[in-house]
């Protein structure tokens, strides 16, 4: 099996599963319980928090655990909007966000907020200038994706962050789900107030995630209840999942050190292999894009057909983002970039992780070429 859909989800590391099982079995206590069993669970939670904070170079008190990217994004966007709506009701985001931002914005619109969607340029980038043009006195939040999940472009969040330093009323949220462990980002340096990560995108488990909330930033919680996580996120903490995620994050950082070159070489192999196929247009720019995502369209072929054809060869890729791919919608990011609908509908995303090898990339590139050739012949008839 060659699994090249790591932006949809990753396979949990064996060691991560071991931790999850051990914590679930031996340290099952509720961290809020007063007795020793609760105390142990709380200690694990603390240690996980300190490890995640250390790896992300932030303070322990700035890490809030959630159920994943969608919750973190919702908490960031709605939490800021609700807590600061008296200050202003204008929010800026981009038209290449993940659905959990996009639809949270739609919901906020129905609650009386005004949302500006900034369009990317033809290569899939939203410049700091394009954000600056939309800034208003009542702008309370700017939310920008870091590595776009469909195309892999890295948005200039550092530049946007330094622009926003001149707008003290506006908070800056960055969806870091695809970037973490793949493309380093210094939250403090980039002037970020909130940032989302999701455990299952770096070999942790589904149902785990975190939101970085810079010290001093207040937001309104989504859940009411037992006031866990500094009263910002009620609900008994998923201790086993959180410990597992902190381990997955550490291991991913280590793998990055050891295997980044290997992954980059694998991507290079794929890219150069695919670029020779005349039916294919590559959408992911060579510069300023993440090392693990490659998006391309195959002219005249339906993306879904192609995914299944590759699947027969035991190679797993994706149409657009996994969350929307079942709905057969064309890639929103590509459409925003100005790619024609027919092309956007035939888009394929290949996404790697550190265990993918050059050999796998060679096999995949050849399989893609063969499949394109074979299917094109069928279609022509």
């Amino acid at each position: 099996m060659i699994y090249l859909d790591n932006s949809a989800t990753t396979k949990p590391y064996k060691e991560v599963l071991d931790s999850f099982l051990k914590v679930s079995e031996d340290f099952f206590g509720n961290p809020s319980s007063l007795h020793k069993i609760g105390g142990q669970a709380e200690k694990l939670l603390q240690q996980a928090r300190s490890q995640v904070a250390r790896l992300l170079n932030v303070k322990e008190a700035e890490i809030l655990f959630t159920s994943g990217g969608t919750e973190s994004n919702n908490l960031a966007v709605k939490g800021i909007a609700m807590a600061h709506r008296e200050r202003g009701r204008h929010i800026i985001t981009t038209s290449i966000e993940h659905a959990s931002i996009r639809n949270a914005m739609v919901q906020l619109e129905s609650l009386g907020f005004e949302i500006t969607y900034v369009k990317p340029d033809g290569n899939g980038f939203n410049s700091a200038d394009s954000i600056k043009r939309e800034m208003r006195d009542d702008t309370i939040l700017v939310s920008v994706i870091h590595v776009n999940n469909e195309v892999g472009t890295i948005q200039p969040v550092k530049e946007i962050g330094s622009l926003l330093k001149k707008y003290p009323k506006a908070f800056f949220h960055v969806d870091f789900v695809q970037g973490v462990g793949k493309v380093p980002l210094d939250f403090y340096e980039a002037g970020i107030h909130l940032s989302t990560i999701s455990g299952h995108k770096f070999h942790g488990l589904k149902g785990t995630g975190a939101l970085f909330i810079k010290e001093g930033v207040t937001l309104s919680p989504l859940f009411s209840g037992g006031n866990q996580e500094w009263k910002q996120r009620s609900g008994t903490e998923n201790v086993a999942g959180i410990v597992a995620m902190s381990k997955a994050l550490r291991m991913t950082f280590e793998h990055r050190k050891e295997n980044l070159n290997q992954m980059v070489a694998a991507m290079e192999t794929l890219r150069s292999g695919i670029s020779q196929i005349k039916e294919i247009t590559i959408h992911t720019p060579k510069e300023n894009s993440a090392p693990h995502i490659l998006n391309f369209s195959i002219h005249g072929l339906k993306a879904e057909t192609f995914v299944h054809a590759l699947e027969e060869k035991n190679i797993y890729v994706s149409t657009t983002s996994a969350c929307s791919s079942k709905k057969k919608a064309a890639s929103k990011t590509l459409l925003a970039m100005g790619v024609p609908l027919s092309e956007a509908e035939s888009a394929i995303r290949v996404s790697l992780t550190y265990s993918n090898t050059v050999e796998e990339a060679e096999i995949a590139a050849k399989a893609i070429a063969d499949t394109v050739k074979h299917l094109s012949e069928v279609v022509k008839k």
Partner: protein, 402 residues
């Protein structure tokens, strides 16, 4: 970077006449321990300065470690060069180019202890200044507030070139000035008091009063975690856990409610003093700050202090809470201290403790009961644990999980 050594300037050590060698030796040992991750780095201590020879180790990483070591006033990564004007100019320029960014200003600071060198300080300034201005674009001289201060020092054996002076932690070398016992409750203040005392060269051991089941294991764990933070200074930290339940129950039975706090403090002080004597210490350290709580009014201190003549060091006595919290943040103990568990100070707090207790009254109340035997028992039952820095402790079963 091309640095091959770090020049370390002593703080107040240099004023300590005959004890100087002892201080320097202590500092050398402390640095050596702190740099255990850099096995190739060698330390050369001299009378008025110290050199850390990098031998290929990372100067930035070592610099980070040095920032936390007491007894260092400042330090500068430097390069040693042969006293040959052309070679010196080459090295100075190369170093300058590495740290220079367009639009920056600079100056040269020359020092010449070797008076036989061909140029005097003015000559060195203009020679090197000119050389750099000629070879680096977009650069101005600013002798008052330069972005880069290129320092050239000519000594007998060689010349040293450096471009940064990094501020050290100050203070006196840790554990160079005797031992004191820190009353460590688990709150915000006491770890800060301990830290500041260590900064003045004292070796500090913690004393914590533990009253199960009125206070929980988690409260004790909190103090252990704080101790592991304090252990970063010396590489270890001794913590004495005093069984205090029996005494608190006796106080509760024996002393009128509004005086229980005063007596509790007096007994804690007596026990700490007894432990101090056993451990060969000469002082007691507390996190008291004037007027902060009922036990820290002047009247309370007068009534409590009476039980001992041992010097009580109160580094925070005139500080505001916010100042103390700032330091707690800096030394990374704040977040541990605010964990919400009852400690012995909060559980038995009477609803309205005396803020102006009278000494004769408390003496009178205590005279009806012999606390001495209980104190003896508490001291004998005290558990002493030696903790390693949090960064070095490896809990294997736990660690596997992460």
């Amino acid at each position: 970077m091309m640095y091959d050594r770090i020049l370390v300037r002593y703080g107040e050590i240099s004023t300590k006449g005959r004890n100087r060698n002892k201080f320097i030796d202590r500092l050398r040992k402390n640095i050596k321990r702190a740099l255990s991750d850099y096995p190739n780095a060698a330390i050369k201590a001299e009378r008025d300065r110290m050199f850390i020879l990098l031998n290929g180790e990372d100067s930035d990483g070592i610099g980070e470690k040095l920032k936390g070591i007491f007894g260092i006033q400042s330090f500068s990564p430097a390069i040693k060069v042969e006293k040959d004007l052309e070679k010196m100019k080459d090295v100075a320029l190369e170093l300058f180019r590495k740290i220079h960014k367009p639009g920056k200003t600079f100056k040269i600071t020359a020092k010449r202890s070797d008076k036989t060198f061909e140029l005097d300080t003015n000559g060195i300034n203009s020679e090197f200044g000119g050389h750099i201005l000629r070879n680096v674009e977009d650069l101005k001289v600013d002798v008052r507030k330069p972005d880069i201060n290129l320092q050239i020092e000519i000594r007998k054996e060689a010349a040293y070139i450096s471009a940064e002076t990094i501020k050290g932690a100050g203070g006196l070398p840790a554990a160079s000035g005797g031992k004191g016992m820190l009353m460590l409750s688990g709150g915000i203040d006491s770890p800060v008091a301990g830290y500041l005392t260590m900064k003045r060269g004292l070796e500090v051991e913690g004393v914590h009063f533990f009253s199960p089941p009125f206070t929980s294991e988690r409260a004790k764990q909190k103090v252990i975690d704080l101790s592991e933070k304090l252990a970063e200074v010396n590489g270890h930290f001794a913590l004495h856990i005093v069984p205090f339940t029996e005494i608190q129950q006796a106080i509760h039975k024996q002393i009128p409610e509004n005086y229980t706090m005063t007596t509790t403090r007096r007994l804690m002080l007596r026990i700490t003093d007894a432990i101090r004597e056993k451990q060969g210490g000469l002082a007691i350290i507390t996190g008291e700050s004037l007027g902060q709580v009922a036990s820290q009014t002047l009247e309370s201190m007068y009534a409590i202090n009476e039980v001992t003549t041992t010097p009580i060091i109160r580094p925070l006595i005139t500080m505001d809470k916010l100042q103390i919290m700032d330091i707690a943040h800096e030394i990374d103990t704040h977040d541990i201290s605010i964990r919400p568990y009852e400690d012995c100070c909060t559980v038995f707090v009477p609803s309205s403790p005396k803020t102006k207790p009278k000494l004769d009254k408390v003496q009178n109340f205590e005279s009806f009961f012999d606390f001495e035997e209980l104190i003896q028992r508490a001291v004998e039952g005290t558990e002493r644990m030696v903790l390693k820095p949090a960064s070095e402790t490896v809990d294997d079963t736990m660690n596997d999980l992460f």
